[in-house]
Symmetry: C2
Subunit: 102 residues, 2 copies
């Protein structure tokens, strides 16, 4: 496990994004990543759930194209792919973030 695979932006489907955002835990992760605007480790994003459960949710966020994870030492740094997603699906993710921020 050296590098994590992500879909390219043209492979990202709107339904997958909707699905990823339909889980409260995942929506909260996305909200936190959007709020801080920086890369965060899974640890920082911990929501009182077992590691394996969190890992599962990150996997879905990644495969939906919402989150990018790069490995840095033992840590996995996660960030929102907001710029790309806003180009492909203008207004969708930003509106969700705005709603959740208020």
């Amino acid at each position: 496990m050296r590098k994590i695979k992500h879909p390219t932006i043209d492979q990202v489907e709107l339904t997958d994004i909707m699905y990823a955002l339909s889980d409260p835990t995942r929506l909260e992760i996305v909200e936190l990543l959007g709020k801080t605007g920086r890369k965060m480790t899974c640890g920082e994003l911990d929501l009182n759930r077992p590691k394996s459960s969190m890992s599962h949710h990150f996997k879905i966020l990644r495969s939906a194209g919402l989150v990018e994870t790069v490995i840095d030492g033992t840590e996995h740094m996660n960030s929102l792919r907001i710029a790309e997603i806003e180009v492909k699906f203008p207004g969708v993710l930003s509106a969700v973030l705005k709603v959740r921020a208020s």
Copy 2:
């Protein structure tokens, strides 16, 4: 079966809306309702699927608060609850509709 129950707008959750929109068939229904902007019967919205399957999807769209159905004779007229949803979750549904329209 006289009148169909819908959630009030304050009962509507963002995650339920996301979930409802994560299915291609349902997203297509929403897209058609948004595009025409008028009430449409389930028949008009038929997507080559059995009635019972379509009914299932409408049920989910209704319970998510996305669609309102009023009975008119033997027909069930469906419309998007876009005005209410835009007040509660500004920009979300409109962005999805815009993306799908393009």
